[in-house]
Amino acid sequence: MLIRFPQRKLLIAACLCLSGGFGFGKELELWFVPMSQEGPQKAGLLQWVKENFPKELPKGITVAPNYGPPIYQDAQQKFVVQGRRGKPDVIEGVLEGMIAYQKAGLIAPIDDLLNQWPEKDHFIPSTIKALTINGKVYGVPYNTNVRVLLYRKDLLQKYNLQPPKTWEEMLADAATISAKEQNVAGLALTTKAGSVRTFQEFISFFFQVNGGQNPFKYDEAAKKWSMNTSADKLGQVLALYHDAFFKATPAAVNQNTRGNDYQATDADYVAGKSAMVPMGPWIYSYRKTGETARKILEENTGVAPLPLPPGGSQATYLEVKPIMINAATKNKQESWNVIKVLCSKDFVAMDAKLEGINPPRQDVADLPDFKSDWWQQAFTQQIATGVALAPINWGLVVNDITEALQKVIYQNNPADKVGEELYNTLQQRAQNNQL
């Protein structure tokens, strides 16, 4: 008894001393994944924040230098459980996260604040619309991107092929290249369960089949979400994947790449292992990782809108990342100030360059730096056809879609059957109010 207590007290004291986070004073908490996730963008962002927050923010407001969990899913989970306590004050996330937060009443609509902000009109309307749920805006976009088709100009030229305009052309061209070019797959797709890119690629193709509309629409009368598509249309997209992996021999997509996650897809393209790939603008930052990547991206890559299905319309997936205010925050006005800085022309321009994404602000897109950047321009042209996700709880739907996809590409199940099953599953979810 005499020996034990001092040891324990010391231990506890030591632990307490080392625990961080006692915020005294008016310090706001900001969760911003690119600032806490290890990667090429982190240092630049932190540098800008270090220099500019003191300048741009009103006196007395500081932002804690810890930017939350470095993975979006993690941040989402934690915010859902603890956000009601008021911290963090400001949170950056992905659209799916915003939708979940809105359902849980965790974020505040900012229409009044936004409408008073003169810079509001600089934002591209579709990006603000993407963040609107039930007529109210829940976040300000600082980052956006669309998906296009990247292709190897040199390889297509070598086999006298034009950049494909339809799904059929794309598969045929890809099959040609797979057959004739050693160690190169004509097309690359992400199909790993649990990788968000799998779903994003699928939905880009789906929007084209579904007339640029989400698979669900809100039924005002029944106060429920209902289906806004058909089993056929789902089957059509699944058939695309099926044909991609099985139609030709060798197939348009390398069967050994089934289950690839997004890092593998990206890495394969910049290593020259695939000739075409649905992609977003971030891959441009790979040009700094080596000579092969640089050559492919800067000299040999062409950008085209995603090819169309028969009877389809030009549409693609628009990803928007919002910055939101915690509904339970005690510092709403100060939080709004932080958001204004993070969505300012300066920050958006810097971030777009660093992270290799498109700016949601037209004034930034009009900057000479951006106008002369062929990569940025190629993507910005497609933003108008981008469709954002509907405000439903996508978690379970993504699982369902991924499962259907995997049944088709692994077990070679007929696409129309799987499409029907998928339709029924999604319909069940809508009817059971799980969306």
């Binding site: 005499l2 632990c15 470095p70 993975i71 989970q77 593998a264 971030w282 990782t289």
Partner: protein, 276 residues
């Protein structure tokens, strides 16, 4: 004579196969960590001399946060180890040497949590820690890891202490030693291998924990290496050279610690295995 040679050869063959299977992945990891990214991508089994580099390690250590992660992992794991050995030995001493009413019930209720699936208690656990303000603190993580390793430690140490004859206790008590003194002066030295096993077990579980750190840690001040590794794997650009180097950095401390204690570990497991 011939039979013995055959036996010898077979033994070595068996050992060779076993250890190749066990050590090859680690070896491959270490070799890859010294190759350039391009070299790894070429898919050759062995790198040429010119493809060897230390750049991956420089990149890993250039991330300033890596030192913080290492430090966090070390602090938390060491604290857990000390806490578990201390609390565990006190509890084992009580269970072994004291007649207490409800002893069996207590022991059962202390061991039962070992069976609870972590995923079941994850969210209420998070809410509980949140209520006590222990989210994102070292203390919270230390207590968490202690709570998942104490059951096994208590159970094992009780077995050890039971095997130590009470005559030693009696002798010391007669000589004027206090009850606590008996624990520290008689039992600790004799049961040292058992304590080493318990402490090492706690250290390893704490160092390698991913699930609880992922929900309790929210900022770099409490992040540990496993989380950092996972976020490397999830980062925008996957560079296998850097990932393998980071993995080696995460492995080296445990292997170093292991080599220090491994002799006692085997002795400890021996003593534990022999009882009954």
């Amino acid at each position: 004579m011939k039979r013995r040679t055959v036996h010898l050869l077979l033994t070595y063959l068996g050992l060779l196969i076993t250890y190749v299977v066990l050590l090859l992945p680690i070896l491959w990891l270490v070799i890859s960590s010294f190759r350039t990214n391009d070299s790894i991508q070429t898919g050759r089994l062995l790198p040429t001399l010119s493809e060897l580099t230390v750049r991956n390690y420089i990149e890993v250590f250039a991330i300033n946060a890596v030192f913080v992660f290492l430090l966090n992992s070390a602090i938390i794991a060491t604290s857990v180890m000390l806490l578990v050995v201390l609390f565990g030995s006190l509890a084992a001493y009580a269970l072994s040497r004291f007649t207490l009413r409800g002893k069996n019930l207590l022991m059962l209720s202390a061991l039962l949590p070992q069976f609870f699936p972590y995923v079941l208690i994850l969210i209420p656990f998070y809410v509980l820690m949140s209520n006590f303000g222990m989210v994102d603190t070292h203390l919270g993580l230390v207590l968490t890891h202690a709570s998942i390793t104490l059951p096994f430690a208590v159970w094992m140490l009780t077995g050890y202490f039971n095997a130590i004859p009470r005559e030693l206790d009696q002798a010391a008590l007669i000589d004027g030693c206090s009850r606590i003194g008996v624990l520290f002066r008689i039992i600790y030295p004799t049961a040292l291998p058992g304590l080493v096993v318990a402490g090492f077990f706690a250290f390893v579980v704490s160092w390698g924990d991913y699930l609880f750190v992922s929900i309790l840690s929210q900022s770099q001040s409490t992040q540990t290496l496993p989380i950092a590794l996972q976020s490397f794997m999830n980062s925008l650009q996957v560079k296998w050279g850097m990932i393998t180097a980071g993995t080696v950095v995460a492995i080296v401390p445990t292997i170093a610690f292991f080599s220090l204690v491994q002799r006692r570990l085997v002795t400890g497991l021996t003593a534990g295995a022999v009882k009954n």
